[in-house]
Amino acid sequence: SKRHHQRRWEGKRDIRKLVSNLPYEGLEKMKQPNRHFPGNAIKTTKYTLLFFIPMNLFEQFHRLANIYFLGLAILNFVPVVNAFQPEVALIPICVILALTALKDGWEDFRRYQSDRKLNNTPCFIYCRKEQQFVERRWKDVRVGDFVKVICNEIIPADLLLLHTSDPNGVCHIETANLDGETNLKQRRVVPGLSTSTSEFEPESFNGVVVCERPNNNLNHFKCYVEKPDNVKVGIGIESLLLRGCTVRNTDHTVGFVVYAGHETKSMLNNNGPRYKRSKLERKLNTDVIFCIILLFAMCLVGALGHFSWLQELPSVPPYLVPDSHGHLDSPALSGFYMFFTMIILLQVLIPISLYVSIELVKIGQVFFITNDIDLYDEESDTPMQCRALNITEDLGQIQYIFSDKTGTLTENKMVFRRCTVMGTEYPHCENGKRPWPPQSRWTPDTEDADPAGTPHYHGSRHRGKVAESAQRDVAFSSPLETEVVPDRKLLQQIRRTESSSSSSSSGKTDPYLDFFLALAICNTVVVSTATVRRQRVSAPICPLETSNPFETFSHLVRKVGSFRQTISSWRPMSNRSRTSSNCSVLEEDHFNSLAKTGNCGGRKSTGPQTQDTSPSLRYEAESPDEAALVHAAKAYGFTLLARTPGSVTVRLPCGEELVFEVLDTLAFDSHRKRMSVLVRHPVTSELVLYTKGADYAIMELLGTPYQKRIAADTQRHLDCYAKEGLRTLCFTKKVLSERAYKDWSVSRQGALAAIDNREKLIMDTAGLLETNLTLLGNTRVRATGIEDRLQESVPDTIVALREAGIQVWVLTGDKPETAVNIGYACRLLDEGDLVINMNYVLQLMCVSILDCTLEEVRRYGNDPTGLAPTISLVIDGRTLAMALESDLVDRFVDLARRCRSVLCCRVTPLQKSAVVKVIREKLKVMTLAVGDGANDVNMIQAADVGIGISGQEGMQAVMASDFAISRFKHLKKLLLVHGHWCYTRLANMIIYFFYKNVAYVNLLFWYQFFCGFSGTAMIDYWLMIFFNLFFTSAPPIMFGIMDKDVSAETLLGLPELYRTGQGTGEYKFSTFWTAMLDAFYQSLVCFFIPYWVYEDSDIDVFTFGTPLNTVSLFTILLHLSIEIKTWTVVHWVIMLGSVAVYFIVTLAYSAICVTCNPPSNPYWILQSQMADPMFYLTCIITTVLALLPRYPQYSFSFAYKNKNSPPETDFEQGTILEKVWL
């Protein structure tokens, strides 16, 4: 049936069969078997040179705003309705289109350049004619070619790894270009194809590669190679080299091109930037609709007014101009036309330029956020990253924060803290201390020479003291953090077992040795030599030595050191080598050498050699706890030296190196919550399965009665660890019989070769082997506790966020005990809190408890005394799943809403996102999710604002996020300061923009009442365009980028101020309409004061318009300067500059333009006005009267605020403080 299944899969269209190109080399294109697949040349440009203009225009007219603009411009070409000269009306749209096209063109050109550069990158392709790899370009690579990639080169296409220079068939790649992860990943050669060690012969490759269609999943690849003898070899992602990755630590590799060019996984992953619509922008759109309604109302007034004005005329007056045929339209028709004329005239009411301005403002805001030095992490050299450019203001409106625990609240830099073996606890007292400063680390200590093993204890205690005094300032991740100080008792235990069985082989099964072997073996940690990946070597070899003078020197020193070490002591060497080569030497095997000199005196001869070959082991772990365990094992002398797909090399404390044959690795997955490694013991030849996993995942697999006591003890210790906030892991061992392995192996192979449903089958087989473990019962449990330290200032940040009115939830996959412990540590929970713990298996119970609790909590809420305790909720994953079901969800949300803090434990990634979605939709609040790992991706994407922490667990969270920070504490400034600023700035800017447009356009509208609603503009059209384009555009943008209503210090000091942004905040319905009313009032003043001044005089149209224009410029700018809270040099320059530009441009224009813009003619008008004192008198009184309500209203509201609400009292104090600061 399996074969049948296979055939069915092949029958589908979604597979590809690829063969080598070599037999067809030199043939014409039609005969090439792989001709249907695209080449490796990429083209990411959107446009071609020839069709740039039409394509770009087509693109741009997808925007509604542009269509509106164009519609108006076209409308202006209709003679009966045009308000301005048709050509002139095209200017705004042309300017906007041209600017956008210029920007697009430039971006496209950059893309073109980078494409060209990539396509012309050299690479080596096998050529049959020349019988060797010849240099070609990336663009020449085709599917079916054989490509050779040299160390430190970038892989040109997706390659099936067929051969590497490594004898074990392993190749290391760095995927930083793809996902930002810098740890090395191991890839291995497709088994059974390459003739191992010798040089690879591409011509001998005669299989058919059958693979799935290209997709964008970087972590999955389904494929098999069908050899001529019909044997199928299954291949997964572990044998695929992805385009864009860099080959490291491997001299050269040869691969078969599977996907090329745009079909490669990296190109398929190459999506455009994320586009999210901010809450403010959504609200803004409703206001735009109000503006449209207003516009239509005004146009209707114009149309009706024109109609009735025409009706009232007794006959045809001389000022009614008929059309060119001498014909006059009827009043009704004229009124109808007038409607459209009015739309053209008053079009500015719809703030098209607002959208452009908002984009500019956001660019500026992002600039300031990313440049904030407080959001920069010195240690990892990462500044704040804004990945979504258009939701900066959402940061100021957050009401709920959903946080991951591990790596977000905590360092996720794991330190091995304690362990329990065979039911005995080893507390590792010294490890609890923070790392000590490097200087004091290896202080020469006379006792160190003591052979009894005590030096560690004494030495470390000494260090501990030093550490205590200095630890407060120590950076959190000094390289020493991975160091573990061995527990004395445990060390002695190992000594004892080792010395008792130093020569025998039976002792290898001792639980203590097994424990450490399991620590060292049962993982996927890759060992690399640090020196290689640090530097770029242009030569195709990546040597360890002589490429860097520094390194050579350190190497020498090391040799000297090891030489001296063989004589007597290791002391001076490590110190010196560290100082002389602090860059290249990462890890020194101090303990290792110590153990050697101390213990295995008889095997000294191996010491220096091993010391020499592994001076700088670097562990590339996918998760930090794995690394912590390997380091812990190393501290006890069990050093992981190398890992290849087929073997693991471990050095024992006595210096002996054991090579374990790895038969299989059952990788970790979130369902099983454990991983296993099946190895053959080199000494006993036993088949041993080491399993590591979460305690609950392991404990339920134990069942044999005689283990019960140990299991119970261990469980007790585990609970105790969890209470301390330690992360716990359990290790088990099982010895398999050959037969059992054989049986299992068959089903495993079947699962691996399957293509459909493969993951599930593999998982099932893994489970099969691991469940058997309970039946055999031959297991021993050891548990480890790994500490995950709280990040710097986390409690501080949480308290501040809470004061800011933000609810903080923690969602973690950890056990409730650990989570609660961390909750207290980070002050999410308080001692006085009433903690409701919900951990139920039965739904019925869950329902009733939920109802009871809700009842009680409601009562507390109504308690008028205010003495009711704050309530915190701790809920576990299973209960959460029930609570999120449709019939309970409302009650759950209601309960959660009343709780001060909520902790969800043991939740799956999907549940995390479900919680976020539920809260977001049910409570209609702004949510923010912050996390660092792949398990947080769902949650980050579900929230309104997703924040990724670029930490230890790769970059997947960052890739999915809108903003990326490096520490949790940065959230405080990001939200409280930048969020608040961005929001108030943008909200005020938008309101101001609406106000500005209405105030200006209404001038034109009021004039219609005095020109028979004929659509006349009393301001020259060019000056009207300039007014919006130059004279009044820069100040609001600057206002939106730079205004500070409250200083950063005050915002950080008084988190309550953040509350202004939550809910509706500054941008309220009332604020909008107040601004509108103000605009109406101001436009009335700006129109009617000049009107009464010039009533019944000999003033002409444009001379009348000039003071109006000037007055509204002053009013609009002064209105803004009332709104501006903080004036810097930039503010002054831009404000005064705008006024200067207005006068200079208008004066120049009216001096030069005699007949340049017929029939509109502003010649010498401003000049004549400026010679008239009346002009100034009018401008002054109009401006003062227009701003008269605004100015006292501001000062009144200020005084009012100060008295009425307590937070505002603080506010005033804040401003007083500011006065002192500034």
Binding site: Y376, D381, C583, W1092, G1105, T1128, L1177, P1192, T1215
Partner: protein
């Protein structure tokens, strides 16, 4: 995008590696400058009662005197307005107003007597005023050709489309074209002083210097440069439909003829509001001893040509002396006085409020 990003990293020639010992070659640390950190030295105007109150008092104190000054100046301006539309049966111009026609060849004159109660001491400006005349109608405003008026021969013979339907008449280009020119005001006003003896003395009216200097010398120019023979220059053009004589016969003085006729220029400057006046003549003061217009009886003689019945318009003759602030308009003075008073009043109110609550506020602050 992706391609370009890894390419860029390649160019830099380094990989940024975090973690122990990873010597990063390039620092991504943001610059610690005042601008980038938003720490530019700043001034924060804090609107408190202390800063707002003085502003109100100062505005009040400045505005009220200005207002009084303006009001007094305006009141010193003497102005006389005579409506000669002739709507009433009793009006001398009633007859003329009834039989209107643009092209009537027989001029209709009417004489309006009036009495000047106060002597006009300084130069007197004589305006004609029209009301309900929408010179600011959108299509009307546009109906002109500035190039033609600027003396462009090409435009003279081919008036712009904007002038339609007053661009051509009987296949000849109209000079000056357009609706504005076509509807030019063409009444003639003359002023006579009736001596106490009963003798009628014509008052000399200056018809030059009534237009803007820039209009007369830059914007409006006759075609053909300084060719005094305007008849030849305007050869091939025809007069506007409503005009009685061609443009080159507007005046006998060649400095005030053709397009640079000042009456014409004044008319071409379209009024902003439907009720407007336009400067017609200037009566210059001759002798410092004698007032320009002494107190007494006068008659206004009107050659009544301009019909206003089609839009229920009014025609007025206005005599006005002039000051630095132009014609008589008490509005600005009143406005200044009002706004100044409001500010002053608001200041007082605020002061009281501040006094009443300010202390409490301060004490609250102290207890805090």
């Amino acid at each position: 995008m992706m391609a370009s990003s890894y390419n860029a990293k390649d160019e830099d020639g380094h990989i940024t590696v975090s973690g122990p010992g990873g010597g990063t070659l390039k620092n991504k640390k943001p610059d610690n400058t005042a601008f980038k950190q938003q720490r530019l030295p700043a001034w924060q105007p804090i609107l408190t009662a202390g800063t707002v109150l003085p502003a109100f008092f100062i505005i009040g104190l400045i505005f009220i005197p200005i207002g009084i000054g303006l009001y007094v100046t305006s009141n010193n301006i003497k102005e006389l307005e005579i409506d000669y539309t002739g709507v009433d049966m009793s009006s001398p111009c009633f007859n003329c107003s009834q039989n209107f026609s643009w092209n009537s060849t027989r001029p209709c004159t009417c004489t309006i007597p009036f009495y000047l109660e106060q002597a006009f001491e300084s130069n007197v400006f004589m305006y004609y005023g029209l009301s309900n005349f929408y010179q600011n109608h959108r299509r009307y405003v546009k109906s002109r050709d500035d190039s033609q008026l600027n003396g462009d021969i090409e435009a003279l013979l081919n008036p712009s489309k904007e002038c339609e339907p007053y661009a051509r008449n009987e296949n000849k280009p109209i000079a000056p074209c357009g609706a504005i020119a076509n509807s030019m005001f063409n009444d003639t006003l003359e002023l006579f002083y009736i001596d106490p003896n009963g003798t009628k003395i014509q008052i000399p009216l200056m018809k030059k210097g009534i237009a803007w200097w820039t209009d007369k010398h830059v914007k409006f120019r006759n075609p053909g440069g300084n060719n005094p023979n305007l008849t030849a220059v305007f050869q091939g053009t025809t007069k506007p439909v409503n005009w009685r004589k061609p443009v080159y016969e507007l005046d006998t003085d060649s400095e005030n003829n053709g397009f640079i006729n000042e009456d014409f220029i004044v008319w071409m400057r379209t009024a902003a509001l439907p009720t407007f006046r336009k400067l017609y003549r200037i009566i210059q003061k001759k002798n410092s001893m004698i007032p320009t217009l002494p107190r007494g009886n006068y008659t206004l003689e009107v050659v009544y040509n301009y019909p206003v019945g089609s839009f229920e318009g009014r025609k007025r003759m206005i005599l006005s002396t002039i000051s630095w602030m132009g014609g008589k308009n008490p509005f600005l003075g009143i406005a200044y006085i009002t706004v100044g008073s409001i500010c002053f009043f608001l200041g007082v109110v605020l002061l009281i409020i501040h006094h009443k609550y300010g202390n409490r506020n301060n004490s609250a602050d102290i207890t805090n």
